[in-house]
């Protein structure tokens, strides 16, 4: 009896399940949106493309401060990062990139968007153009890092029949990928808005800037690749024939001039009274900034904030018990020229060997390019309207040094216990102290709270700006033999930096172009790509422990280790030098190795897994 009852109950249950209604197993999901729901609503499509924008690849950015210490721009003043200065060689896989998952999603977006009839045509065309821009940009990133790569322009789907060979594509020529990027920029331009106030989405200005940058990279690889014939592959997957250089330079110059002549953008010059402050503000001023073309934006209290200021704020003024991580190197700091357009390393000692005495530490850096103080927090200068405290100790009458090993440490000098080292250091081997004597200023946010863990910063990361466009124009014009045009563009950028004596066309050289990009674009993620395309990387990072160069103006000067410049106070009561400042050039003790960029580093290693899955992909040279 009981068993019957059980079976009846069971049958009723099953019956009830199966019967209830037809769409029981066909219910619309409540946790994801389906294609037909997305592609009729502009707002939803915008959030799809926002995700794709967010995955725009960057190598060195303000969200990843330590990568800036990989080469010679800065020292990494944090325990876990000292290894960056102890390694000799860069791995062949370093800064590699192979994100075909992202490309597939862009291709899917493009496929679906072009069929989305429910959107307004102009809205749909704009989304489509943005996705095509992003896709071309990924290929640009891939070709910069890996050379020619397989060009996949439609979403590939595996049929699970055991033979994936239909999906395998060989690598294109390096030049073909650059051609693709340039062509795509032309194709998407008409559908994009021509509005300089749009900073975080694709615009006509951005497309022109990208086209110019890509063409310039291709041109310089064609021209300077001739100096390193070993860095090439017989099929052209790596290396561009020298004969193509002029064509690319012309494309680059034309694109930059189209952008410049449109008059939509201008150099940032809101604070002409203080050019250093002006240069620093160019990066953090988000209100009507005429120079910025394309950014990755951040917003306070939205979850999308960045930690650059938290990581790098001067330790003495820090809003947390940290900061001071990135210390610009003397190598970079001495590259900023004097206001008369000449170069000089910093004078620490007179001809006789005695120190040179300065009344104030900042006097050492007076009369230099205004971008120096806009890029670097120098000893004796201010951040957030407070003075930083960077000094390494006292030098006594007999030449001995009195210092301490904690921030603002004290010791007995002349019978009194006084502070003998700055609250920012420099203290060798003490993390967060300014171990090179400098802190980074570019991108630091002067807003209150920017250095707090609970607040952080909403300063944006600038990927394209007008000054770079001018420098690209100058370089392209110079390489095409038009030195007066090159001088015109270069002098605009230099005048903004306080270098009011214009360079004459005869003074424009390759070294000048290299140098101008180095100082204007420091800490903006350009250095590696520039050194690669000029084939200078293996020259300046040659692995030899050479001393700091005395010729910062020379593009081929080696710079394999990061040096520092430490200020000391003189303690010698009764003498005229008492209380004055002297400087010592130092090599931080954690810098134990010289960087070596090998020929195999020019194009990153394509992993064995990738080449196993697709045997048509061949290896990069010299690895």
């Amino acid at each position: 009896m009981r068993t019957y009852g059980f079976y009846i109950l069971l049958m009723l249950t099953l019956f009830g399940c199966a019967k209830s209604n037809d769409d029981f197993l066909n219910r619309a999901p409540s946790n994801i949106l389906l294609d037909e729901q997305v592609w009729k609503d502009e707002v939803l499509v915008l959030s799809v493309i926002a995700n794709l924008y967010d995955r725009y690849p960057d190598y060195q950015t303000i969200e990843n401060w330590s990568e800036f210490a990989t080469f010679d721009e800065a020292f990494a003043s944090e325990f876990g990062q000292y290894g960056r200065h102890k390694n000799q060689q860069y791995g062949y896989g370093a800064w590699g990139f192979w994100d075909y998952g992202y490309i597939r999603e862009l291709n899917l977006f493009i496929e679906k968007c072009s069929k989305a009839n429910l959107l307004k045509p102009e809205t749909r065309d704009r989304f489509l153009a943005e996705a095509r821009f992003l896709r071309a940009n990924v290929y640009f990133e891939l070709v910069k890092r890996m050379g020619g790569v397989p060009l996949v322009l439609e979403p590939l789907t595996y049929d699970y029949k055991g033979d994936p060979s239909a999906l395998q594509r060989p690598r294109q020529k390096e030049s073909e990928i650059y051609d693709f990027v340039i062509k795509e920029m032309d194709a998407v331009m008409p559908a994009l808005p021509d509005d300089a106030n749009i900073k975080s989405r694709a615009t006509k200005g951005l497309v022109l800037a990208t086209k110019a940058r890509a063409a310039l990279y291709a041109a310089s690889i064609a021209k300077y690749g001739a100096t390193t014939p070993q860095v090439s592959l017989p099929g052209g997957e790596v290396g561009i024939p020298a004969s193509m250089a002029d064509g690319y330079y012309k494309t680059a110059l034309a694109a930059t001039q189209q952008l410049i002549n449109s008059g939509k953008y201008a150099l940032y010059n809101k604070k002409p009274d203080n050019l250093s402050e002006n240069f620093a503000a160019l990066f953090y001023d988000k209100g009507g900034n005429p120079e910025v073309i394309f950014v990755k934006d951040f917003k306070l209290q939205s979850g999308k904030v960045q930690e650059w200021t938290l990581a790098n704020q001067p330790r003495s003024l820090a809003e947390e018990q940290q900061g001071g991580r990135l210390n610009p190197s003397l190598n970079l700091v001495q590259s900023f020229e004097k206001l008369d357009n000449t170069f000089a390393p910093y004078a620490t000692n007179a001809a006789g060997g005695d120190y040179i005495y300065y009344d104030k530490p900042e006097d050492m850096f007076a009369g230099r390019d205004a971008r120096l103080a806009g890029t670097v927090i120098l000893p004796g200068t201010e951040f957030k309207s407070k003075k930083v405290d960077i000094w390494a100790g006292y030098i006594l009458k007999d030449g001995s040094i009195v210092t301490a090993n904690n921030f603002g440490g004290q010791a007995v000098v002349g019978g009194n216990r006084i502070q003998v080292v700055g609250f920012d250091g420099p203290i060798d081997n003490l993390e967060f102290s300014a171990q090179t004597g400098f802190y980074v200023r570019k991108y630091q946010d002067p807003a209150v709270g920017s250095g707090r863990i609970g607040t952080k910063s909403e300063v944006w990361w600038v990927r394209y700006r007008y000054a770079e466009v001018l420098l690209n124009a100058a370089e392209a014009a110079f390489e095409l033999g038009d030195k007066s045009t090159a001088a015109g563009y270069l002098n605009q950028v230099r005048a903004r930096a306080g270098l009011t004596v214009p360079l004459t066309p005869a003074e424009i050289t390759f070294d000048r172009i290299v140098h101008e990009r180095k100082v204007e674009l420091a800490f903006e993620g350009h250095q590696l790509w520039d050194m690669k395309r000029w084939r200078l990387a293996h020259v300046i990072w040659d692995g030899l422990s050479t001393d700091l160069t005395t010729h910062p103006e020379n593009a081929r000067s080696t710079s394999t280790r990061v040096f520092g410049l430490l200020p000391y106070r003189i303690y010698n009561p009764g003498s005229p030098q008492d209380g004055k400042w002297v400087f010592k050039k130092v090599l931080p003790s954690n810098v134990t190795s010289a960087h070596q960029f090998r020929l195999g580093n020019y194009y990153s290693f394509i992993g064995d897994d990738i080449r196993n899955n697709n045997p048509l992909v061949i290896k990069n040279p010299n690895q």
Binding site: P229, G543, R598, L599, D608, R611, P621, N622, Q623
Partner: protein, 230 residues
């Protein structure tokens, strides 16, 4: 009761360990990179060659690094390998394999094997001798041009390296002295001198060798390391 349970667990654990482990590779493959019977000295670990073994799902090479005296050694499984000297690796040109006429050499491993690999370096440094006067070290050597046909390359510089340990090259050194390729008067008799800085703790001898950097070639060719009493 508790103890015996414990023993059973131990026995089970030990038994499971044994079962699914592979034997470690035990066949040694060693030799030197040579030219005319003489080892080609390079930078420690900078140059390598690849061993490929087919028949596995994925193709990944075993990279064998070459030590600074030109020797290599590797522990492998028995099997049939293909040995490839990658293009652009090492300060030498590779000789096509006699059997396959390609850059690939077939290598059969069945028990330990010692084999020298012949290559064609651009130069060789011969008869390197060192002497010391106080802390000044002097070396003398002869630079022998091996490749003289159209593939020949010029010398960029020749450099004397001194280090406190036996690893001496462009990266590991405490003192160097160079002559540029164009300034070499007599390649048969090259003399280089350098003052060795004081080292702490003091040592009674230093390690010295001479390297040649060839134009357009990344890796250098060295003389054998000499331990020089000071």
């Amino acid at each position: 009761m508790r103890n015996s349970l414990f023993i059973i667990i131990i026995v089970l654990l030990a038994a499971s360990c044994k079962k699914d482990n592979y034997a470690a590779p035990g066949t040694s493959f060693k030799g030197r990179i040579i030219c005319q019977g003489e080892a080609v000295n390079v930078s420690q670990g900078e140059v390598f060659f690849e061993l490929w073994e087919s028949g596995w799902g994925k193709r990944t090479p075993v990279n064998v690094a070459i030590a600074q005296d030109g020797s290599f050694s590797s522990l492998l499984f028995d099997g049939n390998y293909q040995l490839v000297l990658p293009k652009g690796q090492g300060p030498y040109l590779t000789l096509p394999d006699a059997a396959s006429h390609t850059d690939t050499m077939l290598l059969q491993l069945k028990g330990d094997r010692t084999m020298d690999i012949a290559v064609l370096p651009y130069y060789m440094i011969r008869n390197a001798k060192a002497s010391a006067n106080g802390r000044q070290v002097t070396t003398n050597c002869k630079l022998d041009k091996i490749i003289t046909d159209t593939r020949a390359k010029n010398v960029e510089r020749i450099t004397l390296y001194v280090n406190r340990t036996q690893f001496v090259d462009g990266i590991n050194n405490i003192a160097t002295q160079s002559i540029n390729g164009g300034d070499i008067q007599d390649p048969g008799n090259i003399t280089l001198q350098v003052n060795v800085p004081a080292v702490n703790p003091a040592q009674s001898s230093v390690f010295v060798r001479v390297g040649v950097k060839i134009e357009g070639v990344e890796d250098m060719i060295f003389s054998p390391v000499i331990e020089q009493k000071l």
